[in-house]
């Protein structure tokens, strides 16, 4: 970077010197000298430009090395870390989907057990009430006693089954640890790639300066904005509680809709 600044400084001071010399020569009618000055100016600019393009090329090469892409290899695509990250993220999607399905399987297995116990308990309670009100005879009581006995057996069996389902539901959450690690690694890679890209853009801007290229930032921004089509959907919003353009929950949605006459 220091080297860049010095070469930029050199360009500027040469420009100033030569500009004065050029005006001088022209005022004195010395056209041959003026042409010579212009030639020298061109040379300084070209030299700077070549230097910057050279640096940019080197930097690009370094970036490629940093991304660990073997550009000469046959399997360049598979070798890249980005590709690896894609695989890793797909793994996260698979793991989370599997865990969600496993959890729902277990919930769907548990629900009928709970419902069955609750139904039978309700039925027994009614019969027990009749017994307490002395509304059943000896045969009825023997029948009720049998039912209570079988119910107690069922509670014992089903509750141990339920407890094992609950345990499995707990275990199905172990994906969080694995996916968390994967996502952290990918996040680190994205940050690294971004900082490398920023470096490249900085290098490229030095080339722009020597070449006298100017970009219409406003037009570029407008173009990027235009490509954002809201109906495509954006997915979950981050920091919703700190933003005005985003609702932070169902209460906000309901308020907004009722303000629209819903």
């Amino acid at each position: 970077m220091e080297q860049n600044e010095s070469s930029q400084g050199e360009l500027e001071s040469t420009l100033k010197d030569h500009a004065n010399k050029l005006v001088d020569s022209l005022e004195h009618g010395n056209f041959a000298e003026a042409i010579q000055v212009i030639y020298e100016l061109n040379q300084v600019r070209d030299r700077g430009l070549y230097q910057e393009v050279g640096k940019l090329t080197r930097e690009l090469h370094n970036a490629i090395v940093n991304f660990q892409i073997d550009i000469h290899g046959k399997h360049a695509q598979e070798m890249s870390q980005i590709n690896d990250a894609t695989h890793r993220l797909n793994y996260v999607v698979e793991m989370t989907e599997k865990a969600a399905n496993r959890t729902m399987d277990l919930v769907e297995l548990s629900a009928p057990l709970v419902n069955g116990l609750s139904d039978e308990a309700q039925q027994l309670r009614e019969e027990w009430g009749r017994f307490m009100r002395r509304e059943i005879n000896a045969d009825g009581f023997r029948d009720l006693a049998k039912k209570v006995d079988s119910f107690l057996g069922r509670v014992d069996q089903d509750s141990s089954q339920l407890s094992s389902y609950l345990n499995d539901i707990l275990l199905a959450q172990d994906f969080q640890d694995l996916t968390g690690q994967v996502i952290k690694r990918v996040t680190a890679l994205v940050t690294e790639v971004e900082s490398n890209l920023v470096k490249l853009v900085m290098m490229a801007s030095h080339v722009d300066r020597f070449a006298g290229i100017e970009h219409d930032q406003a037009a570029l921004k407008a173009e990027a904005e235009q490509q954002k089509v809201s109906s495509q959907g954006e997915g979950p919003q981050m920091h919703a509680d700190k933003r005005d353009d985003v609702v932070s929950g169902q209460v906000d949605v309901d308020d907004l809709l009722s303000s629209l006459g819903f």
């Binding site: 919930v107 954006e234 997915g235 979950p236 919003q237 907004l256 809709l257």
Partner: protein, 124 residues
Amino acid sequence: MKILIVDDFSTMRRIIKNLLRDLGFTNTSEADDGTTALPMLQSGSFDFLVTDWNMPGMTGIDLLRAVRADERLKNLPVLMVTAEAKRDQIIEAAQAGVNGYVVKPFTAQVLKEKIDKIFERVNG
């Protein structure tokens, strides 16, 4: 009551299906985006549509617009269940004629509330 659930993630469809079953709605079908949902709606006599917004192929908002533009479907009650949380988007959905809007993550209670409200209005 026949309900169509549209979401590109099978787990989300399963969650909604289970919640609806708890609420007593057992006749449900599923589609993974608007492109597959629209012909199902046009050929099957659905009474209610629950859709996500962000899906590949045809999005939920486009599906909603297609439903409202269809002479036979235009009165179908539509509940949007989505992660899209921008005010502009909710206004867009309201203008497109949505009957209810639930943001993810949501609770069984919220889903029940919105569905009750929609049918209260449709039947009232």
